[in-house]
């Protein structure tokens, strides 16, 4: 027994010595945002002089994800393909692939074809981190990263590894320079969306004096509430019911509680931010309890065309009461960008859905970044990041408002959005995706004048 414990003690001491010996002196604690070479067998470091598909020779620096000899660029997608947002994200991923297929057919990025590597993160943070680790040695940038807590979890790694990612969420923190060194957001953040929409509602109902607010727990709901509170105070609306972070979409009891809170508040305006199924349940319960006469709205994901499907009980009252908020133009909108999306989707033989636009928007941002990186001669991960962060204008031809990634946060945060009304008739006969656009590139006065310097709601 004594002999064995001696060996064990020796082993442990050896372990400690090993650990201390290495990192002690000098130390290489690269905790700051230094671009680090990922240790992997997939990527190679090369400075190559190459003729890219017969064009004039250029010296393009590459490290990971760009193979000049094979003529390929690899983009990664961290997508929720089996979790709560999978129906939307699958369509968004399809939108990416359609757009890149078209770009590749038109000659790619100066002759380099773009490949998309999608990984299912299941909307689970450890899985998201694991997928990031898997892809970071294979891709030059991330075309999207689904989920705010998940994107925050990899944010420190993105900064340490020097890789670009496009967040697939509209949390206002992505416009905050303290957080977004490696992120290029798009679309109006939840908090400014609330300001735009609620002020718009007061213009539709000038006598409105009270508002009921109910949102999901988490960044999505609380960022949205933060904006709603700001606009309520600015416009002098009384918050008759405050259900911030009271909604838990998996817990029916919270939906009933919120519905009764709204009904009892007798408010003139209602702002509910959650997913569409929970929203339908809350609206339905309030309606059944006799609540009526108010105008309803909520953050973009609260809406789904299924709410006004022909077999939906709430279809008629909802189409009178509800205003749909969106970050990009709906399917049937009349703009060159929308026309492009329609052509892509019809060519692929897929049914009309609004979400393809989101995939195309993300892909366009990445395309601009890649082209700028190519022109600058630096297609390393760090080069693509720098190129993206220096884009002055990314235009979407009317599909979405222009984005810019240079300048003061207050100047470049996105403030414009789209407003629609539900269109059950159009959905029933297939002429629309369930909405009719009424305001394009809209910003309310408060949304335009709001001083944005940091995130509306802190995630930690």
């Amino acid at each position: 027994m004594r002999k064995k414990s001696k060996w064990l003690a020796l082993l442990l001491v050896l372990g400690l010595v090993l650990a201390a010996c290495g990192d002690g002196e000098g130390g290489d604690t690269t905790t700051t945002a230094v671009a680090e070479e990922p240790t992997t067998t997939a990527g190679e470091e090369e400075m190559t002089t190459t003729t890219a598909a017969g064009e004039e020779p250029a010296e393009i620096a590459t490290d990971v994800g760009v193979d000049l000899e094979a003529g390929t660029i690899t983009i990664g997608l961290l997508s929720d393909l089996s979790g709560p947002f999978s129906p939307l994200v699958q369509v968004i991923v399809a939108g990416h692939e359609m757009y890149w297929a078209k770009v590749n057919a038109d000659g790619g990025i100066n002759g380099l074809t773009v490949q998309v590597e999608t990984r299912d993160t299941e909307y689970d943070t450890p899985t998201h981190v694991q997928r990031y680790e898997e892809l970071k040695g294979e891709v030059v940038a991330f075309g999207h990263s689904t989920g705010s807590p998940q994107t925050i979890a990899i944010n420190a790694d993105l900064q340490a590894d020097g890789i670009l990612a496009v967040p697939l969420t509209w949390y206002s923190g992505w416009s905050d320079p303290a957080i977004n060194a490696n992120l290029v957001p798009h679309g109006v953040p939840y908090c400014i969306e609330s300001m735009n929409m609620i002020e718009y509602l007061t213009q539709q109902a000038p006598d409105a004096a009270t508002i009921a607010i109910a949102t999901d727990e988490g960044d999505y709901g609380e960022d949205s509430s933060a904006g709603a509170m700001i606009v309520a105070e600015a416009l002098g609306l009384e918050v008759a019911y405050d259900g911030t972070a009271r909604i838990n979409a998996r817990d029916e009891a919270t939906l009933a509680e919120v519905a009764s809170g709204i009904t009892g508040s007798d408010a003139d305006l209602v702002w509910v931010t959650t997913n569409s199924v929970a929203f339908g349940a809350i609206y339905g319960q309030a309606f059944a309890a006799g609540f009526s006469g108010a105008l309803w709205s909520g953050a973009g994901p609260s809406w789904s065309p299924a709410l006004v499907a022909p077999d939906s009980v709430i279809s008629e009252p909802l189409s009178n009461d509800f205003y749909v908020s969106a970050y990009y133009a709906p399917w049937a909108a009349d703009s060159p960008g929308n026309q492009e999306v329609r052509e892509l989707v019809e060519a692929a033989g897929a049914p009309p859905l609004d979400f393809y636009a989101e995939g195309v928007i993300e892909a366009k941002i990445m395309e601009q970044a890649l082209r700028a990186a190519y022109d600058a001669g630096d297609m390393t991960q760090a080069g693509v990041l720098a190129a993206a962060k220096s884009l002055e204008t990314v235009a979407f031809d009317g599909l979405a408002p222009d984005e810019t990634y240079v300048g003061e946060p207050n100047d470049r945060v996105q403030r414009a959005q789209f407003i629609s009304r539900p269109d059950p008739a159009g959905l029933a006969d297939g002429t629309s995706t369930g909405v009719t656009l009424i305001e394009s590139m809209y910003t309310s006065p408060l949304g335009a004048s709001f001083e944005f310097t940091e995130t509306c709601f802190s995630l930690s």
Partner: protein
């Protein structure tokens, strides 16, 4: 005597954990191989040294610690417990209370790892001791329900205690795996960033893997040793027939509390390590599914044995990755190959949205199951299969193989 490894001539030899030369040699070789993995020396196993595999292996080590704890409770003491994820959560939130960053709106004292890691275990153990007495009143399925209730109580408390946990869906950052003496700015040992040990370059994940492997070896040794001590024998007698044990003089109350306490200590440490390794976790992470995963590990690996807990952890943690790689391999055959194999592969795998297949090769595209769903299906099938055909789990399979070759060629 040489050639007669199971003939023991002393008490120490009889009680030895590694009682045959073969066991000692094999364990030594295995540990050497494990240590060499981050340095990618062994041919054929070099792929394990890549960052994503190192993360999986480090996760296996953490799950092993938790599984060892649950094995002491289920395998050794025979108490059914579905509440393992609750104790892991308690450990993780104790760790973040003590070790979490002082800045920011959430609770955190910024203390170093040598305080918060043991404290995570101790606090979880104390909570386990409080639960222990319920095991005296109920047993079997009913104890399972009681511990199940713990999981839901835990979920509710964690979700509503925003100042500690960050609140539902949001979560918070956990203290990183770095060694400091007190609250200095630069850690002495930093497992999260790459560096060089003894002159050899190693990535952050590699360092974490090595340190966690050493930790797991220590915990496994302690768990294995428990079996041959007085406490271990008492727990085993309670497992076999607790009423008879009580009559014989084994204090049921005390030993059931001890079982819960020790198992919760392991769970607390595992929870703290898991949260720190993943860096950010929300209260939803400590849910029933995590508990079920541990039950699956114990059942598939083999209840009651340390080797079984380790085998089960490796199996469950690595299975999703193996299934995914296998799917990709099948897809490559279906798309690029020809002949009968390609046809069979095509049947299993859906290569596009219009191709028939059981599993979608490309994420999100196709009529079949996603890889994540396939994993869940395989999980369930494995648990059922092992319970019916091999109750001793993977360890049982290993025993059969070993005994076959021991008696070869006289296998009858």
């Amino acid at each position: 005597m040489r050639g007669r490894p199971l003939l023991h001539t002393s008490y120490e030899a009889d009680q030895a954990l590694l009682n045959t030369t073969a066991k000692r040699v094999m364990l030594g070789i295995f540990l050497l191989i494990l240590v060499s993995i981050p340095f990618q020396i062994v041919p054929g196993l070099k792929f394990l040294g890549e960052d994503d595999w190192l993360r999986l292996l480090a996760t296996t080590a953490i799950f092993s610690v938790g599984a060892l704890g649950l094995n002491i409770l289920i395998g050794l003491a025979g108490q059914v417990s579905l509440g393992h994820s609750f104790f892991m959560g308690v450990g993780a939130y104790t760790a973040v209370w003590l070790g979490g960053s002082v800045d920011g709106p959430l609770i955190g004292l910024g203390l170093p790892i040598w305080i918060w890691l043991p404290a995570a275990g101790v606090v979880a153990a104390v909570v386990g001791l409080l639960i222990g007495p319920t095991a005296v009143r109920v047993r079997g399925l009913y104890l399972g329900i009681v511990t199940l209730g713990l999981v839901f109580i835990g979920e509710y408390v964690f979700r509503n205690w925003d100042s500690l946990t960050g609140g539902g869906q949001i979560g918070r950052d956990f203290p990183p795996l770095q060694l400091r003496i007190w609250k200095e700015a630069e850690p002495i040992v930093d497992l999260t960033s790459p560096g060089s040990w003894l002159g050899v370059d190693i990535s952050g994940n590699g360092k974490t893997f090595l340190v966690l492997t050493i930790g797991t070896v220590v915990f496994a040794l302690l768990a294995k040793n428990l079996q041959r001590t007085r406490v271990g024998r008492a727990l085993m007698s309670i497992r076999d027939r607790d009423v008879a044990a009580e009559i014989m003089g084994v204090d049921e109350f005390r030993y059931k509390m001890v079982a819960f306490g020790i198992s919760s200590f392991y769970a607390g440490v595992a929870g703290a390590l898991l949260a720190s390794f993943v860096r950010r976790e929300s209260p939803e992470g400590w849910d029933l599914f995590l508990s079920v995963e541990f039950i699956a590990i114990i059942l598939i690996g083999g209840a009651g044995t340390v080797t079984g807990a380790l085998l089960g952890s490796a199996f469950i943690v690595l299975l999703p990755r193996v299934v995914e790689d296998f799917t990709h391999w099948l897809r490559a055959i279906a798309v690029d190959g020809d002949g009968i194999f390609a046809a069979i592969a095509n049947l299993f795998v859906a290569t596009s949205s219009t191709d028939f297949g059981l599993v979608n090769a490309i994420a999100g595209v196709g009529p079949g199951l996603s890889v994540a769903q396939l994993n869940l299906v395989i999980y369930g099938l494995l648990i059922i299969g092992f319970l019916i055909f091999e109750p001793l789990g993977l360890y049982g399979i290993w025993l059969r193989v070993r005994n076959y070759w021991k008696g070869w060629p006289f296998t009858y």
